[in-house]
Symmetry: C2
Subunit: 329 residues, 2 copies
Protein backbone atom coordinates (compact mmCIF):
# COMPACT_ATOMS: atom_id res chain seq x y z
CA UNK A 1 0.00 0.00 0.00
CA UNK A 2 3.01 2.32 0.16
CA UNK A 3 3.12 2.99 -3.57
CA UNK A 4 -0.25 4.67 -3.86
CA UNK A 5 -0.92 6.79 -6.93
CA UNK A 6 -3.10 9.82 -7.40
CA UNK A 7 -5.89 7.82 -9.03
CA UNK A 8 -6.05 5.48 -6.03
CA UNK A 9 -6.38 8.26 -3.44
CA UNK A 10 -8.73 10.43 -5.51
CA UNK A 11 -9.17 14.17 -5.73
CA UNK A 12 -10.43 14.68 -2.19
CA UNK A 13 -7.54 12.61 -0.82
CA UNK A 14 -5.16 14.83 -2.75
CA UNK A 15 -6.73 18.01 -1.49
CA UNK A 16 -6.46 16.68 2.07
CA UNK A 17 -2.72 16.05 1.61
CA UNK A 18 -2.22 19.61 0.42
CA UNK A 19 -4.56 21.19 2.99
CA UNK A 20 -2.97 19.30 5.90
CA UNK A 21 0.32 21.03 5.14
CA UNK A 22 -1.08 24.49 5.31
CA UNK A 23 -3.83 24.80 7.91
CA UNK A 24 -1.43 26.04 10.59
CA UNK A 25 -0.52 28.99 8.39
CA UNK A 26 -4.06 30.37 8.30
CA UNK A 27 -3.72 32.78 11.21
CA UNK A 28 -3.60 36.01 9.22
CA UNK A 29 -6.20 38.39 10.64
CA UNK A 30 -6.98 39.89 7.23
CA UNK A 31 -8.18 36.58 5.81
CA UNK A 32 -11.96 36.55 5.48
CA UNK A 33 -12.17 33.20 3.71
CA UNK A 34 -9.28 30.74 3.43
CA UNK A 35 -9.00 27.45 1.54
CA UNK A 36 -12.37 25.84 0.95
CA UNK A 37 -14.86 28.26 -0.60
CA UNK A 38 -15.39 29.37 -4.19
CA UNK A 39 -12.91 32.22 -3.68
CA UNK A 40 -10.14 33.15 -1.28
CA UNK A 41 -10.98 36.53 0.29
CA UNK A 42 -8.92 38.99 2.30
CA UNK A 43 -9.44 42.50 3.63
CA UNK A 44 -7.45 45.44 2.31
CA UNK A 45 -8.53 48.71 3.88
CA UNK A 46 -12.30 49.00 3.47
CA UNK A 47 -12.27 46.56 0.54
CA UNK A 48 -12.58 42.80 0.55
CA UNK A 49 -10.61 41.27 -2.29
CA UNK A 50 -11.78 37.91 -3.66
CA UNK A 51 -9.52 35.78 -5.81
CA UNK A 52 -10.44 32.68 -7.74
CA UNK A 53 -8.44 30.39 -9.96
CA UNK A 54 -9.52 27.62 -12.29
CA UNK A 55 -7.54 25.46 -14.65
CA UNK A 56 -8.95 23.94 -17.84
CA UNK A 57 -6.92 21.16 -19.46
CA UNK A 58 -7.49 19.82 -22.98
CA UNK A 59 -8.84 16.23 -23.09
CA UNK A 60 -9.70 16.47 -19.37
CA UNK A 61 -12.10 19.44 -19.24
CA UNK A 62 -12.67 19.93 -22.94
CA UNK A 63 -11.88 18.44 -26.33
CA UNK A 64 -11.18 20.55 -29.38
CA UNK A 65 -13.97 18.81 -31.33
CA UNK A 66 -16.49 19.72 -28.58
CA UNK A 67 -15.92 23.45 -28.35
CA UNK A 68 -14.61 26.25 -30.56
CA UNK A 69 -11.57 28.25 -29.45
CA UNK A 70 -13.65 31.40 -29.01
CA UNK A 71 -16.23 29.64 -26.84
CA UNK A 72 -13.39 28.10 -24.85
CA UNK A 73 -11.87 31.52 -24.14
CA UNK A 74 -15.24 32.89 -23.08
CA UNK A 75 -16.01 29.89 -20.92
CA UNK A 76 -12.65 30.08 -19.13
CA UNK A 77 -13.57 33.60 -18.00
CA UNK A 78 -17.24 32.83 -17.21
CA UNK A 79 -16.42 29.90 -14.91
CA UNK A 80 -14.12 32.11 -12.87
CA UNK A 81 -16.67 34.93 -12.75
CA UNK A 82 -19.13 32.29 -11.53
CA UNK A 83 -16.82 31.71 -8.53
CA UNK A 84 -16.82 35.47 -7.91
CA UNK A 85 -20.65 35.52 -8.13
CA UNK A 86 -20.67 32.72 -5.56
CA UNK A 87 -19.27 35.19 -2.97
CA UNK A 88 -22.24 37.60 -3.27
CA UNK A 89 -22.19 41.25 -4.28
CA UNK A 90 -18.66 41.30 -5.68
CA UNK A 91 -17.45 43.10 -8.82
CA UNK A 92 -14.94 41.11 -10.93
CA UNK A 93 -12.20 43.63 -11.75
CA UNK A 94 -9.11 41.93 -13.14
CA UNK A 95 -8.31 38.73 -15.01
CA UNK A 96 -4.97 36.96 -15.42
CA UNK A 97 -4.63 34.45 -18.16
CA UNK A 98 -2.04 31.69 -18.06
CA UNK A 99 -1.78 29.64 -21.23
CA UNK A 100 0.00 26.39 -21.95
CA UNK A 101 0.07 25.94 -25.72
CA UNK A 102 1.40 23.09 -27.92
CA UNK A 103 3.89 24.33 -30.52
CA UNK A 104 1.77 23.08 -33.45
CA UNK A 105 -1.31 25.11 -32.41
CA UNK A 106 -2.56 27.18 -35.38
CA UNK A 107 -2.30 30.94 -34.99
CA UNK A 108 -6.03 31.18 -35.73
CA UNK A 109 -6.81 29.09 -32.66
CA UNK A 110 -4.89 31.55 -30.45
CA UNK A 111 -6.57 34.55 -32.08
CA UNK A 112 -10.01 32.99 -31.61
CA UNK A 113 -9.20 32.08 -28.01
CA UNK A 114 -8.05 35.64 -27.33
CA UNK A 115 -11.26 36.97 -28.91
CA UNK A 116 -13.22 34.76 -26.53
CA UNK A 117 -11.29 36.07 -23.51
CA UNK A 118 -11.87 39.59 -24.77
CA UNK A 119 -15.62 39.21 -25.32
CA UNK A 120 -16.16 37.87 -21.80
CA UNK A 121 -13.85 40.43 -20.15
CA UNK A 122 -15.58 43.28 -22.03
CA UNK A 123 -18.96 41.99 -20.92
CA UNK A 124 -17.95 42.26 -17.25
CA UNK A 125 -15.83 45.39 -17.82
CA UNK A 126 -12.84 43.46 -16.49
CA UNK A 127 -9.25 44.38 -17.23
CA UNK A 128 -6.92 41.66 -18.44
CA UNK A 129 -4.06 42.37 -16.14
CA UNK A 130 -1.41 39.95 -17.23
CA UNK A 131 -0.54 36.37 -17.56
CA UNK A 132 1.97 33.91 -18.72
CA UNK A 133 2.42 31.81 -21.82
CA UNK A 134 4.34 28.56 -21.91
CA UNK A 135 4.75 25.55 -24.16
CA UNK A 136 2.75 22.48 -23.16
CA UNK A 137 1.65 19.17 -24.70
CA UNK A 138 -2.03 20.00 -24.21
CA UNK A 139 -3.83 23.31 -24.23
CA UNK A 140 -3.94 24.43 -20.61
CA UNK A 141 -5.83 27.54 -19.54
CA UNK A 142 -5.30 28.84 -16.03
CA UNK A 143 -7.40 31.92 -15.31
CA UNK A 144 -7.27 33.96 -12.12
CA UNK A 145 -9.96 36.56 -11.50
CA UNK A 146 -9.77 39.27 -8.84
CA UNK A 147 -13.05 40.69 -7.52
CA UNK A 148 -13.55 43.58 -5.12
CA UNK A 149 -16.42 44.45 -2.77
CA UNK A 150 -17.17 46.78 0.12
CA UNK A 151 -19.99 44.46 1.30
CA UNK A 152 -19.80 41.35 3.41
CA UNK A 153 -19.12 38.24 1.38
CA UNK A 154 -21.61 35.36 1.50
CA UNK A 155 -19.84 32.16 2.57
CA UNK A 156 -20.85 28.60 1.82
CA UNK A 157 -20.94 27.94 5.56
CA UNK A 158 -23.78 30.20 6.78
CA UNK A 159 -26.91 28.06 6.25
CA UNK A 160 -29.26 27.82 9.25
CA UNK A 161 -31.91 25.28 10.15
CA UNK A 162 -35.23 26.39 8.66
CA UNK A 163 -33.67 28.27 5.70
CA UNK A 164 -35.01 27.49 2.26
CA UNK A 165 -32.63 26.19 -0.43
CA UNK A 166 -32.91 28.11 -3.68
CA UNK A 167 -31.39 27.70 -7.13
CA UNK A 168 -31.41 29.82 -10.29
CA UNK A 169 -32.69 28.76 -13.72
CA UNK A 170 -32.52 25.10 -14.76
CA UNK A 171 -30.27 22.12 -14.04
CA UNK A 172 -28.92 19.29 -16.15
CA UNK A 173 -28.68 21.14 -19.47
CA UNK A 174 -24.88 21.44 -19.43
CA UNK A 175 -24.42 17.75 -18.62
CA UNK A 176 -26.97 16.77 -21.27
CA UNK A 177 -25.18 19.03 -23.77
CA UNK A 178 -21.89 17.34 -22.96
CA UNK A 179 -23.45 13.92 -23.55
CA UNK A 180 -24.54 15.10 -27.02
CA UNK A 181 -21.12 16.60 -27.82
CA UNK A 182 -19.43 13.43 -26.61
CA UNK A 183 -21.55 11.39 -29.02
CA UNK A 184 -21.69 13.65 -32.09
CA UNK A 185 -18.97 16.33 -31.76
CA UNK A 186 -19.41 19.99 -32.49
CA UNK A 187 -20.11 19.85 -36.26
CA UNK A 188 -23.19 17.61 -36.10
CA UNK A 189 -26.54 18.96 -37.34
CA UNK A 190 -28.35 19.24 -34.01
CA UNK A 191 -32.02 20.00 -33.52
CA UNK A 192 -32.88 23.40 -32.04
CA UNK A 193 -33.37 21.91 -28.54
CA UNK A 194 -30.16 19.87 -28.76
CA UNK A 195 -28.29 22.99 -29.85
CA UNK A 196 -29.58 24.86 -26.78
CA UNK A 197 -28.27 22.06 -24.56
CA UNK A 198 -24.80 22.07 -26.15
CA UNK A 199 -24.78 25.86 -25.78
CA UNK A 200 -25.33 25.47 -22.02
CA UNK A 201 -22.17 23.34 -21.96
CA UNK A 202 -20.07 25.56 -24.22
CA UNK A 203 -21.42 29.04 -23.42
CA UNK A 204 -22.15 29.09 -19.70
CA UNK A 205 -23.15 32.43 -18.22
CA UNK A 206 -22.07 33.34 -14.70
CA UNK A 207 -25.02 34.43 -12.56
CA UNK A 208 -23.25 37.57 -11.41
CA UNK A 209 -26.16 40.03 -11.70
CA UNK A 210 -28.43 37.60 -9.90
CA UNK A 211 -25.94 37.13 -7.05
CA UNK A 212 -25.40 40.88 -6.73
CA UNK A 213 -29.16 41.48 -6.52
CA UNK A 214 -29.94 38.93 -3.79
CA UNK A 215 -26.66 38.70 -1.82
CA UNK A 216 -27.93 40.77 1.11
CA UNK A 217 -30.79 38.33 1.81
CA UNK A 218 -28.73 35.13 1.73
CA UNK A 219 -27.24 33.08 4.56
CA UNK A 220 -25.05 30.94 2.30
CA UNK A 221 -24.15 30.80 -1.38
CA UNK A 222 -22.17 28.70 -3.85
CA UNK A 223 -22.26 27.88 -7.56
CA UNK A 224 -23.17 24.48 -8.94
CA UNK A 225 -20.02 23.95 -11.00
CA UNK A 226 -19.53 20.36 -9.76
CA UNK A 227 -23.24 19.55 -9.94
CA UNK A 228 -26.20 20.20 -7.65
CA UNK A 229 -25.62 17.08 -5.54
CA UNK A 230 -22.02 18.05 -4.70
CA UNK A 231 -22.93 21.71 -4.14
CA UNK A 232 -25.64 20.83 -1.62
CA UNK A 233 -23.29 18.35 0.02
CA UNK A 234 -20.55 20.98 0.46
CA UNK A 235 -22.97 23.71 1.57
CA UNK A 236 -24.59 21.56 4.28
CA UNK A 237 -21.23 20.09 5.41
CA UNK A 238 -19.58 23.51 5.71
CA UNK A 239 -22.66 24.91 7.51
CA UNK A 240 -22.84 21.86 9.81
CA UNK A 241 -26.50 21.26 8.96
CA UNK A 242 -28.67 18.83 7.01
CA UNK A 243 -31.31 19.26 4.30
CA UNK A 244 -34.36 17.77 2.67
CA UNK A 245 -34.31 18.17 -1.10
CA UNK A 246 -37.38 17.66 -3.29
CA UNK A 247 -35.99 16.45 -6.60
CA UNK A 248 -39.36 16.83 -8.33
CA UNK A 249 -38.96 20.58 -7.72
CA UNK A 250 -35.49 20.78 -9.34
CA UNK A 251 -36.12 23.02 -12.38
CA UNK A 252 -35.60 21.37 -15.77
CA UNK A 253 -35.64 23.11 -19.15
CA UNK A 254 -38.19 22.31 -21.85
CA UNK A 255 -35.17 21.49 -24.04
CA UNK A 256 -33.86 18.67 -21.86
CA UNK A 257 -37.41 17.31 -21.54
CA UNK A 258 -37.76 17.18 -25.33
CA UNK A 259 -34.35 15.65 -26.01
CA UNK A 260 -34.16 13.15 -23.12
CA UNK A 261 -37.45 11.30 -22.62
CA UNK A 262 -36.19 9.18 -19.71
CA UNK A 263 -37.04 10.98 -16.47
CA UNK A 264 -34.28 9.25 -14.47
CA UNK A 265 -31.67 10.19 -17.02
CA UNK A 266 -32.74 13.86 -16.81
CA UNK A 267 -32.57 13.79 -13.03
CA UNK A 268 -29.09 12.27 -13.18
CA UNK A 269 -27.97 15.11 -15.44
CA UNK A 270 -29.56 17.64 -13.07
CA UNK A 271 -27.96 16.25 -9.91
CA UNK A 272 -24.63 14.94 -11.18
CA UNK A 273 -24.01 16.45 -14.62
CA UNK A 274 -22.16 19.48 -13.35
CA UNK A 275 -21.12 22.68 -15.13
CA UNK A 276 -24.55 24.32 -14.85
CA UNK A 277 -22.88 27.34 -13.11
CA UNK A 278 -26.17 28.25 -11.47
CA UNK A 279 -26.41 29.70 -7.97
CA UNK A 280 -27.25 27.42 -5.05
CA UNK A 281 -28.07 29.33 -1.87
CA UNK A 282 -30.00 29.43 1.38
CA UNK A 283 -32.27 32.19 2.55
CA UNK A 284 -34.39 32.66 5.71
CA UNK A 285 -38.05 31.83 4.93
CA UNK A 286 -38.99 35.47 5.59
CA UNK A 287 -36.67 36.63 2.74
CA UNK A 288 -37.56 33.96 0.17
CA UNK A 289 -40.26 36.02 -1.51
CA UNK A 290 -38.25 39.23 -1.91
CA UNK A 291 -35.25 37.29 -3.30
CA UNK A 292 -37.54 35.73 -5.93
CA UNK A 293 -38.99 39.17 -6.68
CA UNK A 294 -35.52 40.46 -7.61
CA UNK A 295 -34.58 37.25 -9.47
CA UNK A 296 -37.73 35.58 -10.85
CA UNK A 297 -35.65 32.64 -12.17
CA UNK A 298 -35.32 31.32 -8.61
CA UNK A 299 -36.86 27.99 -7.58
CA UNK A 300 -36.89 26.73 -4.00
CA UNK A 301 -36.09 23.03 -3.95
CA UNK A 302 -35.69 22.17 -0.28
CA UNK A 303 -35.13 23.19 3.30
CA UNK A 304 -32.24 23.17 5.75
CA UNK A 305 -32.61 21.22 9.01
CA UNK A 306 -30.39 20.34 11.95
CA UNK A 307 -30.02 16.63 11.08
CA UNK A 308 -26.57 16.86 9.40
CA UNK A 309 -27.92 14.48 6.75
CA UNK A 310 -29.06 15.33 3.23
CA UNK A 311 -32.20 13.41 2.21
CA UNK A 312 -33.65 13.38 -1.29
CA UNK A 313 -37.41 13.00 -1.91
CA UNK A 314 -39.13 12.43 -5.22
CA UNK A 315 -42.91 12.99 -5.14
CA UNK A 316 -42.86 12.44 -1.38
CA UNK A 317 -40.80 9.23 -1.45
CA UNK A 318 -37.23 9.18 -0.15
CA UNK A 319 -34.61 8.28 -2.77
CA UNK A 320 -31.06 7.04 -2.30
CA UNK A 321 -28.45 8.09 -4.82
CA UNK A 322 -25.02 6.82 -5.62
CA UNK A 323 -22.72 9.61 -6.77
CA UNK A 324 -22.59 9.40 -10.56
CA UNK A 325 -20.72 12.58 -11.43
CA UNK A 326 -17.39 13.47 -12.98
CA UNK A 327 -14.44 11.76 -11.34
CA UNK A 328 -11.45 14.10 -11.50
CA UNK A 329 -8.91 11.29 -11.12
CA UNK B 1 1.19 31.74 -44.91
CA UNK B 2 -2.35 31.60 -43.52
CA UNK B 3 -1.83 28.40 -41.57
CA UNK B 4 0.79 29.71 -39.19
CA UNK B 5 1.41 27.77 -36.00
CA UNK B 6 2.57 28.90 -32.60
CA UNK B 7 6.12 27.71 -33.20
CA UNK B 8 6.35 29.79 -36.39
CA UNK B 9 5.19 33.04 -34.73
CA UNK B 10 7.13 32.52 -31.50
CA UNK B 11 6.42 33.59 -27.95
CA UNK B 12 6.65 37.32 -28.53
CA UNK B 13 4.32 37.04 -31.53
CA UNK B 14 1.84 35.19 -29.33
CA UNK B 15 2.04 37.77 -26.57
CA UNK B 16 1.41 40.51 -29.15
CA UNK B 17 -1.74 38.73 -30.38
CA UNK B 18 -3.06 38.54 -26.83
CA UNK B 19 -1.96 42.05 -25.83
CA UNK B 20 -3.49 43.62 -28.96
CA UNK B 21 -6.90 42.41 -27.84
CA UNK B 22 -6.73 44.03 -24.47
CA UNK B 23 -4.85 47.32 -24.55
CA UNK B 24 -8.05 49.35 -24.91
CA UNK B 25 -9.33 47.92 -21.64
CA UNK B 26 -6.49 49.35 -19.57
CA UNK B 27 -8.22 52.56 -18.53
CA UNK B 28 -8.92 51.65 -14.91
CA UNK B 29 -7.56 54.42 -12.71
CA UNK B 30 -6.60 52.01 -9.92
CA UNK B 31 -4.15 50.14 -12.13
CA UNK B 32 -0.58 51.04 -11.22
CA UNK B 33 1.05 48.54 -13.56
CA UNK B 34 -0.79 46.66 -16.32
CA UNK B 35 0.41 43.91 -18.66
CA UNK B 36 4.15 43.99 -19.18
CA UNK B 37 6.04 44.06 -15.88
CA UNK B 38 6.98 41.32 -13.45
CA UNK B 39 3.68 41.82 -11.59
CA UNK B 40 0.30 43.36 -12.21
CA UNK B 41 -0.33 46.03 -9.55
CA UNK B 42 -3.45 47.90 -8.49
CA UNK B 43 -4.35 50.29 -5.70
CA UNK B 44 -6.81 49.30 -2.98
CA UNK B 45 -7.18 52.02 -0.36
CA UNK B 46 -3.70 52.91 0.87
CA UNK B 47 -2.31 49.55 -0.27
CA UNK B 48 -0.86 48.59 -3.61
CA UNK B 49 -1.56 44.94 -4.38
CA UNK B 50 0.87 43.11 -6.67
CA UNK B 51 -0.08 39.83 -8.30
CA UNK B 52 2.17 37.49 -10.20
CA UNK B 53 1.54 34.18 -11.90
CA UNK B 54 3.92 31.63 -13.32
CA UNK B 55 3.31 28.24 -14.84
CA UNK B 56 5.79 25.36 -14.74
CA UNK B 57 5.16 22.46 -17.10
CA UNK B 58 6.88 19.06 -16.91
CA UNK B 59 9.26 18.34 -19.81
CA UNK B 60 9.16 22.04 -20.77
CA UNK B 61 10.41 23.78 -17.62
CA UNK B 62 11.61 20.77 -15.69
CA UNK B 63 12.10 17.04 -15.98
CA UNK B 64 11.49 14.67 -13.11
CA UNK B 65 15.04 13.29 -13.37
CA UNK B 66 16.47 16.83 -13.01
CA UNK B 67 14.72 17.95 -9.84
CA UNK B 68 13.14 16.36 -6.77
CA UNK B 69 9.46 16.96 -6.04
CA UNK B 70 10.30 18.93 -2.90
CA UNK B 71 12.74 21.20 -4.72
CA UNK B 72 10.15 21.66 -7.46
CA UNK B 73 7.51 22.80 -4.95
CA UNK B 74 9.97 25.22 -3.36
CA UNK B 75 11.14 26.55 -6.71
CA UNK B 76 7.56 27.16 -7.91
CA UNK B 77 7.06 29.49 -4.94
CA UNK B 78 10.51 31.15 -5.13
CA UNK B 79 10.17 32.10 -8.80
CA UNK B 80 6.88 33.85 -8.05
CA UNK B 81 8.34 35.59 -4.99
CA UNK B 82 11.15 36.71 -7.29
CA UNK B 83 8.53 38.50 -9.42
CA UNK B 84 7.22 40.16 -6.24
CA UNK B 85 10.78 41.19 -5.30
CA UNK B 86 11.10 42.71 -8.77
CA UNK B 87 8.47 45.31 -7.77
CA UNK B 88 10.53 46.69 -4.85
CA UNK B 89 9.58 46.82 -1.18
CA UNK B 90 6.62 44.45 -1.39
CA UNK B 91 5.63 41.74 1.13
CA UNK B 92 4.39 38.47 -0.43
CA UNK B 93 1.26 37.59 1.56
CA UNK B 94 -0.75 34.86 -0.14
CA UNK B 95 -0.07 32.00 -2.53
CA UNK B 96 -2.51 30.06 -4.71
CA UNK B 97 -1.43 26.75 -6.07
CA UNK B 98 -2.97 25.24 -9.17
CA UNK B 99 -1.86 21.70 -9.93
CA UNK B 100 -2.32 19.55 -13.00
CA UNK B 101 -1.42 15.98 -12.04
CA UNK B 102 -1.26 12.75 -14.09
CA UNK B 103 -3.37 9.97 -12.55
CA UNK B 104 -0.37 7.63 -12.16
CA UNK B 105 1.61 10.12 -10.04
CA UNK B 106 2.80 8.43 -6.82
CA UNK B 107 1.30 9.80 -3.60
CA UNK B 108 4.83 10.38 -2.30
CA UNK B 109 5.51 12.79 -5.15
CA UNK B 110 2.48 14.88 -4.14
CA UNK B 111 3.46 14.82 -0.46
CA UNK B 112 7.02 15.88 -1.29
CA UNK B 113 5.75 18.60 -3.61
CA UNK B 114 3.41 19.90 -0.89
CA UNK B 115 6.32 19.86 1.60
CA UNK B 116 8.28 21.99 -0.86
CA UNK B 117 5.42 24.49 -1.19
CA UNK B 118 5.14 24.55 2.59
CA UNK B 119 8.83 25.14 3.26
CA UNK B 120 8.97 28.11 0.87
CA UNK B 121 5.67 29.60 2.10
CA UNK B 122 6.79 29.28 5.73
CA UNK B 123 10.06 30.99 4.89
CA UNK B 124 8.24 34.06 3.57
CA UNK B 125 5.42 33.77 6.15
CA UNK B 126 2.95 33.46 3.28
CA UNK B 127 -0.49 31.93 3.60
CA UNK B 128 -1.51 29.30 1.07
CA UNK B 129 -4.89 30.69 0.24
CA UNK B 130 -6.33 28.17 -2.13
CA UNK B 131 -5.96 26.56 -5.45
CA UNK B 132 -7.22 24.01 -7.81
CA UNK B 133 -6.30 20.46 -8.66
CA UNK B 134 -7.02 18.84 -11.99
CA UNK B 135 -5.96 15.82 -13.99
CA UNK B 136 -3.37 16.45 -16.69
CA UNK B 137 -0.99 14.45 -18.87
CA UNK B 138 2.04 16.29 -17.51
CA UNK B 139 2.68 17.80 -14.09
CA UNK B 140 1.63 21.42 -14.39
CA UNK B 141 2.16 23.89 -11.55
CA UNK B 142 0.48 27.26 -11.77
CA UNK B 143 1.29 29.47 -8.78
CA UNK B 144 -0.18 32.90 -8.14
CA UNK B 145 1.36 35.07 -5.43
CA UNK B 146 -0.27 38.19 -3.98
CA UNK B 147 2.02 40.83 -2.48
CA UNK B 148 1.06 43.99 -0.63
CA UNK B 149 2.91 47.28 -0.09
CA UNK B 150 2.23 50.80 1.11
CA UNK B 151 5.30 52.09 -0.80
CA UNK B 152 5.61 53.03 -4.44
CA UNK B 153 6.41 50.07 -6.65
CA UNK B 154 9.57 50.15 -8.76
CA UNK B 155 8.68 49.63 -12.43
CA UNK B 156 10.88 48.23 -15.17
CA UNK B 157 10.33 51.44 -17.12
CA UNK B 158 11.97 54.12 -14.91
CA UNK B 159 15.64 54.00 -15.98
CA UNK B 160 17.21 57.39 -16.80
CA UNK B 161 20.24 58.30 -18.87
CA UNK B 162 23.30 58.35 -16.59
CA UNK B 163 21.95 55.73 -14.16
CA UNK B 164 24.21 52.81 -13.29
CA UNK B 165 23.02 49.26 -14.00
CA UNK B 166 23.42 46.97 -11.01
CA UNK B 167 22.92 43.26 -10.45
CA UNK B 168 22.99 41.03 -7.37
CA UNK B 169 25.27 38.04 -6.78
CA UNK B 170 26.49 35.98 -9.76
CA UNK B 171 25.17 35.05 -13.20
CA UNK B 172 25.27 31.89 -15.28
CA UNK B 173 25.22 29.37 -12.44
CA UNK B 174 21.61 28.27 -12.99
CA UNK B 175 22.15 27.79 -16.73
CA UNK B 176 25.41 25.93 -16.10
CA UNK B 177 23.62 23.77 -13.52
CA UNK B 178 20.92 22.96 -16.05
CA UNK B 179 23.56 21.92 -18.60
CA UNK B 180 24.98 19.49 -16.03
CA UNK B 181 21.54 18.10 -15.11
CA UNK B 182 20.70 17.74 -18.78
CA UNK B 183 23.82 15.64 -19.29
CA UNK B 184 23.93 13.56 -16.10
CA UNK B 185 20.51 13.78 -14.39
CA UNK B 186 19.97 14.31 -10.69
CA UNK B 187 21.52 11.11 -9.30
CA UNK B 188 25.01 11.58 -10.74
CA UNK B 189 27.97 11.93 -8.35
CA UNK B 190 28.79 15.59 -8.92
CA UNK B 191 31.85 17.43 -7.60
CA UNK B 192 31.25 20.02 -4.90
CA UNK B 193 31.36 22.88 -7.41
CA UNK B 194 29.07 21.09 -9.86
CA UNK B 195 26.63 20.42 -7.03
CA UNK B 196 26.55 24.14 -6.19
CA UNK B 197 25.71 24.91 -9.83
CA UNK B 198 22.86 22.37 -9.98
CA UNK B 199 21.58 23.81 -6.69
CA UNK B 200 21.37 27.25 -8.30
CA UNK B 201 19.09 25.67 -10.93
CA UNK B 202 16.96 23.61 -8.53
CA UNK B 203 16.97 25.77 -5.38
CA UNK B 204 16.78 29.37 -6.55
CA UNK B 205 16.34 31.99 -3.85
CA UNK B 206 14.25 35.09 -4.55
CA UNK B 207 16.17 38.28 -3.71
CA UNK B 208 13.29 39.66 -1.68
CA UNK B 209 15.29 41.03 1.28
CA UNK B 210 17.73 42.68 -1.09
CA UNK B 211 14.93 44.31 -3.10
CA UNK B 212 13.20 45.53 0.07
CA UNK B 213 16.45 47.10 1.33
CA UNK B 214 17.33 49.05 -1.80
CA UNK B 215 13.94 49.73 -3.45
CA UNK B 216 13.79 53.37 -2.38
CA UNK B 217 17.05 54.21 -4.21
CA UNK B 218 16.16 52.56 -7.53
CA UNK B 219 14.77 54.05 -10.73
CA UNK B 220 13.92 50.68 -12.32
CA UNK B 221 13.97 47.04 -11.29
CA UNK B 222 13.36 43.57 -12.70
CA UNK B 223 14.52 40.01 -12.07
CA UNK B 224 16.72 38.08 -14.45
CA UNK B 225 14.44 35.06 -14.86
CA UNK B 226 14.84 34.99 -18.66
CA UNK B 227 18.56 35.78 -18.54
CA UNK B 228 20.57 38.97 -18.14
CA UNK B 229 20.53 39.78 -21.88
CA UNK B 230 16.71 39.67 -22.08
CA UNK B 231 16.30 41.54 -18.78
CA UNK B 232 18.51 44.40 -19.91
CA UNK B 233 16.73 44.42 -23.26
CA UNK B 234 13.29 44.72 -21.64
CA UNK B 235 14.42 47.27 -19.05
CA UNK B 236 15.97 49.60 -21.64
CA UNK B 237 13.08 49.13 -24.12
CA UNK B 238 10.42 49.86 -21.48
CA UNK B 239 12.42 52.86 -20.22
CA UNK B 240 13.02 54.12 -23.79
CA UNK B 241 16.78 54.35 -23.22
CA UNK B 242 19.98 52.58 -24.25
CA UNK B 243 22.87 51.10 -22.28
CA UNK B 244 26.54 50.18 -22.39
CA UNK B 245 27.21 46.86 -20.65
CA UNK B 246 30.71 45.72 -19.65
CA UNK B 247 30.54 41.94 -19.84
CA UNK B 248 33.92 41.57 -18.13
CA UNK B 249 32.24 43.08 -15.06
CA UNK B 250 29.35 40.57 -15.01
CA UNK B 251 29.92 38.68 -11.74
CA UNK B 252 30.72 34.97 -12.11
CA UNK B 253 30.97 32.44 -9.27
CA UNK B 254 34.18 30.59 -8.47
CA UNK B 255 32.15 27.40 -9.05
CA UNK B 256 31.32 28.15 -12.68
CA UNK B 257 34.94 29.18 -13.28
CA UNK B 258 36.17 25.84 -11.94
CA UNK B 259 33.64 23.68 -13.81
CA UNK B 260 33.59 25.50 -17.15
CA UNK B 261 37.08 26.48 -18.30
CA UNK B 262 35.93 28.08 -21.57
CA UNK B 263 35.41 31.80 -20.93
CA UNK B 264 32.96 32.21 -23.83
CA UNK B 265 30.82 29.35 -22.60
CA UNK B 266 30.64 30.95 -19.12
CA UNK B 267 29.65 34.28 -20.61
CA UNK B 268 26.93 32.60 -22.67
CA UNK B 269 25.53 31.03 -19.52
CA UNK B 270 25.68 34.40 -17.75
CA UNK B 271 23.93 36.35 -20.52
CA UNK B 272 21.54 33.76 -21.95
CA UNK B 273 21.28 30.89 -19.45
CA UNK B 274 18.34 32.33 -17.58
CA UNK B 275 16.80 31.34 -14.25
CA UNK B 276 19.39 33.13 -12.13
CA UNK B 277 16.52 35.05 -10.40
CA UNK B 278 18.91 37.84 -9.47
CA UNK B 279 17.88 41.49 -9.39
CA UNK B 280 18.71 43.74 -12.35
CA UNK B 281 18.16 47.42 -11.61
CA UNK B 282 19.17 50.99 -12.29
CA UNK B 283 20.15 53.57 -9.73
CA UNK B 284 21.24 57.23 -10.02
CA UNK B 285 25.04 57.46 -9.69
CA UNK B 286 24.65 59.39 -6.44
CA UNK B 287 22.79 56.44 -4.86
CA UNK B 288 25.02 53.63 -6.14
CA UNK B 289 27.25 53.57 -3.08
CA UNK B 290 24.50 53.50 -0.46
CA UNK B 291 22.65 50.72 -2.35
CA UNK B 292 25.83 48.64 -2.30
CA UNK B 293 26.28 49.43 1.39
CA UNK B 294 22.89 47.85 2.14
CA UNK B 295 23.43 44.94 -0.27
CA UNK B 296 27.17 44.22 -0.59
CA UNK B 297 26.46 41.51 -3.22
CA UNK B 298 25.76 44.23 -5.78
CA UNK B 299 27.98 44.69 -8.85
CA UNK B 300 27.59 47.56 -11.30
CA UNK B 301 27.97 46.27 -14.83
CA UNK B 302 27.07 49.21 -17.04
CA UNK B 303 25.43 52.56 -17.56
CA UNK B 304 22.20 53.84 -19.08
CA UNK B 305 22.43 56.33 -21.98
CA UNK B 306 19.97 58.01 -24.32
CA UNK B 307 20.99 56.03 -27.44
CA UNK B 308 18.12 53.49 -27.35
CA UNK B 309 20.70 50.84 -28.24
CA UNK B 310 22.27 48.27 -25.94
CA UNK B 311 25.98 47.79 -26.64
CA UNK B 312 28.13 45.09 -25.06
CA UNK B 313 31.86 45.62 -24.38
CA UNK B 314 34.39 43.02 -23.31
CA UNK B 315 37.68 44.44 -22.03
CA UNK B 316 36.94 47.66 -23.92
CA UNK B 317 36.04 46.02 -27.25
CA UNK B 318 32.47 46.03 -28.53
CA UNK B 319 30.93 42.57 -28.92
CA UNK B 320 27.94 41.52 -30.99
CA UNK B 321 25.76 38.70 -29.66
CA UNK B 322 23.18 36.52 -31.27
CA UNK B 323 20.46 35.55 -28.80
CA UNK B 324 21.27 32.05 -27.62
CA UNK B 325 18.76 31.58 -24.83
CA UNK B 326 15.77 29.39 -24.17
CA UNK B 327 13.23 29.43 -26.98
CA UNK B 328 9.78 29.05 -25.46
CA UNK B 329 8.22 27.75 -28.72
Amino acid sequence: MRNKTVSSIGEFGLIEIIKSKFTRLNNNKNIVMGIGDDCFCFNSGSNTICITKDMLVEDVHFKKNWITAKDLGQKAIEVNVSDIAAMGNVKPEYAFIGLGIPADTPKKFITDLANGFKAACNKYKMTVAGGDMVKADKITISVTVVGITKDNIVKRSGANSGDLIGVTNTFGDAGAGLALLYKHGIKYKYSKEERLLTAKQNNPIARLNEAQKIAKYLTSLTDASDGLYISIGLLTKDSDVGADIYTDKVPLSTDIKKVFRDENRRLNFALFGGEDYELVFTVPKSKAKIAKKFVPQITYIGEINSSKKVRYFHNGKEQKFKYLGFKHF
